[in-house]
């Protein structure tokens, strides 16, 4: 292969495809290289695709994209020992102003890659990039298992496994306390059963995030999302805590599905697929340098994920767009050096998404140093409500006293004050 491209994008996930889409729209000669059989073959979503960043680029994309359900209902599940609390927010049904959709990656990624192709990008699948090629001290192409390709610029969207970036010296291998492992199952259920169970209308979706006793010792949480005709159920936890507690992901998955706050939703459902994927949780502090001469890094590879909101795919799109814009400038100036590419990272740091990540710096480590936080509060609240609802001859005044005792017994007051201060400040 001797053809030279303006830009090579490694990986046909949302980050890479967005960058390719922007560059192709700006008349650049772009190729996307994907190792899977098709775009999406290797990809897993662990949450909701929030529409904001994609809508900014392709207005009202939801009218054409293959999406699952418009998420209008968000819940927090607090798992106690034998009880649970489910707190549910239900938004107004306004399909014209969606906030987020559940998606299945095999469908969505295929559609999205097609958009980039329609804009003029070339897509090569079933091809694994094994190395970034340097020439005169700058990245100038890629080595694949089907030959070499050269380009003025390479955009790395290789996902959470950052082997290419590491090999090229752009970043260090991430540590177990910087990455989470998530496992998920797709459980099929008829559409009307899903809508009845979650109290949803046609096309409406629900998302539930769980914390509590089940995840004792782990910095992790469970989740449940509704697709059109299936549920996505699973959990994610920091790898360092999985190692420490020596918990096998699939064992915990089975326990989670047996929880009283989860099981009734899954009843009669059939497991269609079991999946696992890493989530970058290195956060703002762990974000590497995302540019060098002839190269930009986007999406999961750039450690863009927000454990609090569950954002990931939309941040990938945001970074892909910013990288595409900077690449377009570099192309116009025929200068692909760091000097021209550096504003990409500056723009990203100024974005709402990364400002959030910066604010949350250290949140996961704070919890990891005292994982009891994840158990104590859900348990205290569960026990408090058990007391509150049970009629046993005690007066309400007595019950209020008992509840105070319950809460104080789960965590020391000084610790609670510190938690409120530290966690509160990082979240708001």
């Amino acid at each position: 292969m001797t053809e030279k491209f303006d830009a090579i994008v490694v990986g046909a996930g949302p980050a890479g495809v967005t960058a390719a889409y922007v560059m192709a729209k700006n008349r650049m000669n772009v190729v996307i290289i994907e190792r899977g059989e098709l775009p999406g073959s290797k990809n897993v979503i662990g949450g909701v695709l929030y529409v904001k960043t994609l809508n900014d680029m392709i207005p009202e994309f939801w009218k054409e994209a293959p999406l699952e359900r418009n998420v209008i209902q968000h819940s927090y599940g607090l798992i106690g020992k034998n009880t649970h609390i489910l707190v549910t927010y239900k938004g107004a049904t306004r399909p014209e102003f969606p906030n987020g959709y559940t998606i299945l990656r095999s469908k969505f990624d295929k559609w999205y890659a097609k958009k980039a192709q329609e804009a003029g990008a070339v897509l090569i699948t079933k091809t694994n990039v094994t190395e970034l090629l340097a020439q005169d001290g700058k990245i100038a192409g890629v080595k694949t298992d089907r030959g070499d390709l050269s380009a003025n610029l390479v955009i790395v969207a290789e996902g959470a496994n950052t082997m290419l970036c590491e090999k090229a010296g752009l970043m260090q291998k991430t540590r177990p306390d910087q990455m989470a492992i998530a496992v998920k199952e797709i459980i099929s259920l008829p559409s009307d059963r899903i809508q009845e169970r979650f109290g949803l209308g046609e096309g409406e979706g629900a998302a539930i995030h769980y914390i509590g006793a089940l995840f004792k010792g782990l910095v992790g949480f469970g989740f449940l999302y509704t697709n059109r005709e299936s549920l996505s159920v699973g959990f994610g936890a920091m790898i360092s805590t999985m190692m420490k507690e020596q918990i096998k992901p699939y064992d915990l998955m089975e326990q989670f599905k047996e929880e009283s706050s989860v099981k009734p939703f899954l009843r009669d459902g059939l497991v269609k697929e079991y999946q696992a994927h890493m989530i970058p949780e290195a956060g703002y502090r762990g974000m590497p340098k995302l540019f060098s001469d002839g190269v930009l890094v986007v999406g999961d590879s750039a450690m863009l994920a927000n454990p609090v909101t569950g954002e990931g795919a939309d941040l990938a799109i945001l970074s892909g767009r910013m990288a595409g814009d900077v690449a377009t400038k570099a192309h116009a100036m025929t200068d692909y050096t760091s000097r021209v590419l550096a504003p990409y990272q500056d723009d990203l740091l100024k974005s709402f998404a990364v400002r959030d990540m910066r604010k949350q710096s250290g949140l996961l480590h704070y919890i990891e140093n005292d994982p009891d936080i994840m158990r104590a509060y859900p348990e205290a609240l569960n026990n408090a409500l058990t007391e509150w609802f049970r009629v046993d001859g005690a007066t309400r005044t007595d019950k209020a006293k008992r509840i105070k005792t319950i809460i104080m017994s789960k965590r020391r007051l000084t610790k609670m004050m510190k938690d409120a201060y530290v966690i509160g400040r990082k979240l708001m």
Binding site: R35, S106, T127, N161, Q246, Y274
Partner: protein, 87 residues
Amino acid sequence: MRLEEKLYLLRHVLDEESHIKVDQEACAKCTNRACLDVCPANVYSYVEPRVFVAYENCVECGTCRIACPFVEWINPKGGMGISYRYG
């Protein structure tokens, strides 16, 4: 549902060559064997005196690579390995 049954649902394009290598010398001396715990597809098993790698079950999350410095994990060849139908 057992893990084996779940893994059976998955579609893989089998690469005849393993994309995972372990350092058996290091494995023999290893005390915690994180690979046995963290792998969601139970790719690793230990039968004295060595670690066995069922790479054909790998779902390519890469967790083992992060958890253990002695696992040499690379992507399977283009088009091979796991191919999710839902994702």
